[in-house]
Symmetry: C2
Subunit: 95 residues, 2 copies
DNA sequence: CCAACATTTAGCAATTAGGCTAAATGTTTT
DNA sequence: AAAACATTTAGCCTAATTGCTAAATGTTGG
């Protein structure tokens, strides 16, 4: 029995500034970046960023691929669209 | 020293299912409801809902007015628009 | 004025989140 | 094969979140 619905995981992932920063930078950089470059954005220790990346990945906001000893994180916009559509509903005429 | 930006408060408020449920019901009911009717939506104890309402209000998603011994909670869509616009940015052509 | 009503505030307990450092894992270079 | 590199995993610690119940607050009707 899934304890948290998809929207909960999604909005929770979006709540942390570091994670929004990762998503925005990924978007700005064209959709993918290697873990090291993402970690370099922050004053945080690297494992802290690793954990943020895991939260983002569990929420379906990014995925990753291995490339040699590096890992490439890739922005996935589907869930962002889902969140946007949820919000958009408040601005549509009541049907 | 609380250092959380407006988006953090906002998305955190949106993260909890009960709070999203409150917002959706408020929207559906035309934008305002009295506290008792909101509390009645949930199996939670009433003080739990009171706290959720406070989180929503601190995030600027609702406000309230006193009306005799009741309190009317009123949906404020500005912050919802802000969140939607933040998300929308991921779908605009890179300028 | 007093009881009932509508709601919030206070304070407790369990859980989760998010930071850290140290250790582990897997890959490439020498 | 060993060293260096890129990154994650594990475990610890503290603060915040969210549920509860009990008590407090303010309002109205008899």
């Amino acid at each position: 029995m899934p304890k948290s619905d998809a929207y909960e995981t999604l909005f929770t992932a979006l709540a942390h500034p570091a994670r929004r920063h990762i998503l925005m930078t990924l978007n700005f950089e064209g959709g993918d970046m290697i873990a090291g470059d993402i970690a370099a954005l922050f004053a945080h220790a690297w494992p802290t960023t690793t954990r943020h990346l895991k939260v983002l990945e569990d929420a379906g906001l990014v995925k990753h691929e291995k490339q040699g000893r590096e890992r490439v994180y890739i922005l996935d916009r589907k869930k962002l669209a889902l969140a946007r559509d949820w919000l958009d509903w408040f601005f549509k005429p009541t049907s």
